[in-house]
Symmetry: C2
Subunit: 442 residues, 2 copies
């Protein structure tokens, strides 16, 4: 390591480098990249527990013999994987199942701390079902469209695939994301607190296309969407949303939908709570009023402080979370770290993410990794030199409607503590002097 | 089906609908969406051979019992997949291995006709290797940086992951893509003619970051990149490219790089020919001149008509291909189809794609599916009513440098027929009156 770089890191850690930068609590906007990098790199050491070769290959991987010197030995051939590859045997990230009492209605969460960029690998997309995951033959699956239409219709998957299509990158977030975190910090990792959100590139037919073909009658205002799972999941969708950006999606990340995501067909309602994106979609019924299904009366409503229930809170408010560093990690020593995370809004595009290292007293604007797309995860990043002191890391997102992600205190002021769904408050991660990162309310 | 819609399709097929639209050879710009859709949907029928339930699950899938009525029976639980999901057992697309004599140095191609949007599923990313695919333990893998630098350095994977990162969507195309197609149409499908290109979201450290840390000496002009596979693959990279948008990539589509793509580390040179994106990267050496490795002297050069060899043709020229309909498909009957395909340029963003149904005599502008990103696949689409006559479908791309994809005749005029690499000519698909689609030169 070049001597000057070590000297520079020592100056930053001793607090004498402020003349070089617009620096607050170790967060750098003005310092040149080379100097920050130099400081960081000099610190050395690894952050997370070291990976290990597995005794047997983890799910999604095939175990191959490891070559001590791969330049001296022919590698395996491309035929070994049968023409569809799998991840490395050294990678073992998994969705985490929330410990529900029953496996018949359960959910599993995306390992956000291990993610990169904005795409969620399809095998790690969060999963929520209410009656298990059906295995459906696409040759026999049909979508029925009826109710207040000029012409009731029946579509096979081949019919739908012949129609004009569209591809869009969108997040889906379960409105129950964070439901354990209202009153006190409960789950240890970001996978537990925020893992019910994922982003994919979805392809399918615009819902407006099939509605235009069938013809909507005057007065139509809502559409029932029904799944063909054992729960026969049903939700009501406003007709304006159906005609705007809703998609009958049959593909995800360049291939067919995954079974857990509704194979062969799901409804995609960009920005709406996840439960409305009906999976294994088999029926659409047009009506002049909402259908008041179980999922919009006893469930997926927000109990307010005055005892009334807020219904049809469909658009997910702007939210963000720092995924590194995050709960249950340990920073090995003071020095340079890149703070990174995800921000998203169900109402449009993210315009700004700010990061605080002092529990919200001061903020620095993070860099947004382009493309920044509406109703899609946005990756943010900010260089940070941790000097070894206690710190509370937070991020807050702003979307293009001007809405700013609230503090937990502000949110509870309006919503009270009887709510289950739609927690979008700022998340706090406490950094102890020994580097331990924990979930706190601050 | 509403009667008026059938009547409209009949008018279009009988050629009497031109008053409704700006219509050339069945391609519609001005016709209202509803009318085109109506025409298409009335035609009915499915395009491709029907899928079948597999006797055993295809690679990348797990076989689950199919439920005759999934609303009457509990589905499988989320624990069944171990926390890392797989594709449906009804999906069986595979990479296709080009029949090389040896499996030790071979390639396999992405099934472009079965793709959606712009993301290539990581399991279907094309693969080219020269000495097999090594299995490398990321805990022991290192990258060495030396040569004309102030400070030679050695980076572990943990070191690299601590540095500031960036995520970008980029295609990689092998410069040998289409090499069989110069003199005559040879391979039957678009997977064979164009399947050596794929797009992923890549994440890693900018190469400029590590070069800035090490410090580049005056006069440095080229960098050798070396892989740790059995071929010890080496290529020379201009320093300007290294300092511009080159990435040391450790992640792909939201998780670690796939083994076939260079796990744990590859060089990403956006827009450059695929062979330069060195996989299993272990060494970078800075120099004042190129290294003249085997891959830039005996291989990956273009033999010109005058007998000289063009060297370092690094940037991939603009190119496009129609993936539907494409070779070896059969259109079941006249009617509506959505023509779709991919366009890309190694020099920037695609600004326009035009489609012809008459072998290039007339052209219609296709819709580009956003986001349109530089050095990335762009999905294009155009509604088309096929009236059952002979047709030759073509697409041509224009990029933001103003470059237009050439016809094969134009390209051969300049390049002759001794070239192997860098064929970016317009592709022609012949549609016979019976609907058969074949690869032709037109």
């Amino acid at each position: 390591m070049a001597e000057g770089l070590v000297a520079l890191e020592n100056r930053i850690l001793s607090g004498n480098a402020d003349e070089d930068c617009d620096c607050k609590n170790g967060m750098f906007n003005g310092l040149t990249r080379r100097r920050v990098l130099a400081a960081g790199f000099a610190a050395g050491g690894s952050v997370l527990a070291a990976g290990r070769a597995m005794a047997e290959a983890p799910p999604g991987a095939v175990e191959y013999p490891v070559q001590p010197d791969p330049t001296k030995e022919q590698g395996r051939t491309i035929l070994d994987d049968g023409g569809y590859g799998s991840r490395s045997q050294f990678e073992n990230e998994l969705r985490w199942r929330y410990p529900t009492a029953s496996l018949d209605s359960s959910w599993s969460m995306t390992p956000l701390a291990a993610g990169f960029g904005i795409i969620t690998p399809s095998g790690l997309h969060f999963e929520r079902h209410h009656g298990g995951i059906p295995a459906i033959d696409p040759q026999t699956h049909e979508l029925i469209l009826h109710g207040m239409v000029d012409q009731p219709m029946r579509f096979t998957m081949d019919d739908l695939k012949r129609l004009p299509s569209v591809s869009r990158l969108h997040f889906i977030e379960c409105s129950g994301n964070g439901l354990t975190e209202w009153a006190q910090p409960t789950l240890k990792t970001v996978q537990g607190t925020h893992g019910l959100t994922s982003t994919s590139e979805w392809t399918g037919v615009r819902l407006s296309t099939v509605l235009e073909i069938a013809g909507i009658k005057d007065g139509a205002a809502w559409i029932l969407a029904e799944g063909s799972d054992a729960a026969v999941m049903t939700r009501s969708v406003p007709i304006d949303k159906a005609m705007d950006d809703a998609i009958l999606a049959y593909a995800q990340n360049g291939e067919a939908l995954r079974p857990e995501q509704g194979y062969p067909l799901r409804l995609l309602l960009p920005g709406y709570e996840g439960n409305t994106h009906i999976k294994w979609l088999r029926r659409l019924k047009v009506s002049d009023k909402p259908f008041m299904t179980r999922e919009e009366t006893s469930k997926y409503t927000d109990l307010m402080p005055d005892g009334t229930a807020r219904q049809f809170s469909l658009e997910m408010d702007a939210k963000s979370v720092i995924t590194f560093p995050s709960g249950a990690m340990k920073l090995p020593r003071p020095g340079f770290y890149e703070v990174t995370g995800l921000a998203w809004s169900g109402r449009g595009a993210i315009t700004k993410v700010e990061v605080s290292a002092d529990g919200g007293a001061t903020w620095q604007e993070a860099e947004l990794n382009g493309p920044v797309l509406p109703k899609c995860h946005t990756r943010f990043r900010l260089p940070w030199v941790w000097k070894g002191e206690e710190a509370v890391l937070q991020s807050r997102a702003v979307d293009d409607t001007g809405y700013t992600q609230p503090t937990l205190a502000k949110l509870v002021e309006v919503r009270g503590l009887k709510s289950v769904y739609h927690l979008n408050a700022i998340q706090s991660w406490h950094i102890a002097p020994d580097g331990e990162v924990t979930n706190v309310h601050a």
